[in-house]
Point group: C2
Chain length 315, copies 2
């Protein structure tokens, strides 16, 4: 793993990677996925740069958002606003069904989703398939408060291709699947395709739920509409919804989720959660002691209210 301990001094950075989008004191997020705009964070210290088999990995300490994880030039997580993403992508599905027991996380190498799944006392098994071992190593090292739940005995970690894993899973294995992917132009591309969505539907029990990272309604409505339409065909008899939340360091400041349920004995109503999270701030386990920062039952339901321009995604 490549590493630098330089404080933004270009001369000292490892030449072999030549990947740093840090220019002077600023990191700028520029991508063909959001042409014409860039969000920049002031860099206090570059902590890590490396190139895995799949992508470029970078961590820096920012002036005002704490530590920041970047994959292929796109911000994945910051210490300051990561709560909004990881709490919503996890509790939107898990609070919508009674007593979730078996959960699959596809992607999610940062450990943020694991950290939130662990708040649900009914869960007795969490499988996680992260394709990139470097992401896990970096998360454990630089984001240890979030990535602490890899050590939980309920967690089974596989460093593997999540789409191949899901395809091979026996039908009806999981109560819930969370697809915590990066954007669909890198290693996460297969996770937005029809074959993967069909595998997901088969891997869920009747009345099971999936929540997938599904980009920004301000930037990628055509892509969202395309995946949404596929889901409506695949999850026949269940329900398909779109929800969104605010994450300042993601492009356009928002990120969305597609939530689907399979047909089952108990219809799922994502908009009216039936499994509220208890206040765990007095828990005995030290790892439980950090209270929720973003999610609550009111914001769960509100997340499904869409602007008029996105109303095709409402039911």
């Amino acid at each position: 793993m490549g590493e630098v301990n330089t404080n933004n001094n270009d001369e000292q950075q490892p030449k072999e990677y030549n990947i740093s989008p840090v220019i002077g004191e600023w990191f700028s997020e520029i991508s063909p996925m959001w042409p014409g705009e860039a969000h920049s964070l002031k860099v206090e210290k570059l902590l890590f740069e490396g190139k895995s088999e799949y992508q470029k990995v970078m961590v820096f300490e920012s002036l005002t958002y704490g530590k920041v994880l970047v994959l292929d030039g796109a911000i994945q997580q910051t210490e300051r606003d990561g709560c909004a993403y990881r709490e919503m992508i996890t509790h939107l599905p898990l609070c919508s069904i009674q007593t979730p027991k078996t959960v699959l996380v596809v992607g999610g190498g940062t450990g943020g989703v694991l950290r939130e799944v662990a708040r649900h006392p009914s869960v007795n098994r969490v499988d996680i398939c992260e394709i990139d071992g470097m992401v896990i190593d970096v998360a454990k090292r630089f984001f240890s408060e979030v990535a602490v739940w890899y050590e939980d005995p309920r967690v089974v970690l596989r460093v593997c291709d999540g789409s191949a894993f899901v395809k091979a899973v026996p039908h009806g294995t999981y109560d819930a699947i969370i697809v915590d992917s990066s954007d669909p132009i890198g290693p996460a591309k297969p996770l937005f395709e029809e074959a993967f969505l069909e595998s997901i539907a088969k891997a869920l029990r009747p009345g099971g739920v999936v929540c997938m990272q599904a980009e920004s309604m301000w930037l990628h409505m055509h892509m969202i509409q395309d995946v949404f339409t596929k889901c409506k065909q695949i999850f026949k008899g269940g329900c398909v919804n779109y929800a969104w939340t605010t994450v300042p360091t993601y492009p356009s400041g928002v990120i969305g989720f597609i939530l689907c349920s399979t047909y089952g004995p108990v219809p799922v109503d994502f908009k009216h959660p039936i499994n509220p999270l208890a206040d765990q701030s007095d828990g005995d386990d030290d790892r439980d002691n950090q209270p929720l920062q973003f999610y609550n039952t009111q914001i769960h339901s509100a997340a499904f209210c869409l602007p008029t321009f996105a109303k095709n995604l409402s039911i």
Copy 2:
């Protein structure tokens, strides 16, 4: 008024202002109000630069957000996402009371709020106090589709200090007041202070409502909490709420509003609007023909659902 017709060529820009934050092909929004981060838009063509008595004014054509208005280096409005701000700051208060008739707009020189107030057929008078005539001129010239309602016979425009105007208004004059201000570090500073809030309360009829631009819960929670606490003292017997919406080109991607009502015969419940907007897309007046792009009744109520970290602003 200074003006340029250059396409991003520094040499051709008027030297006397020396204000352009356009570097190369990009405009970057950098401010002590949001240290450590910047949002940048790619510039197609710089359309206007000027310095009024109050602030620096700039308009450019961006690659992906249409035309952009910038005051003192801060983005005020873009053609692509301006709908979210102007529809929410207007309809959150006006849809919360029956048959609003008299409305005051403080600030709002872009004409965006006027454009939305005009959708309410019960309104028979709109006073608007914009301190900076250059903003009005620039809005009419470069954002004519939004600023068209200055010509409405119900509108009385005053180029004046809104805080002085409100102080002199007879008690109980308005059903609703909308404070469409820029950030509190330029000419809008008095609009966040106690004396102005007290004038607003007196200028409203019993059961009247005010909606004020109130910054981002991600960036300015201390300032929001301070103004919120003042409002709770001043609007005794009425109600005080905080709501928020997504606007990609504002810092952190969100902007919030403080809504207050004065004590009156009909208690106001902002979270459950009683005055829905009819679908006006078939209206006879050409100016009415653009349907709402963002606001609807569901997103009205959802806007009051706050993340856990902001729960002190919930009632």
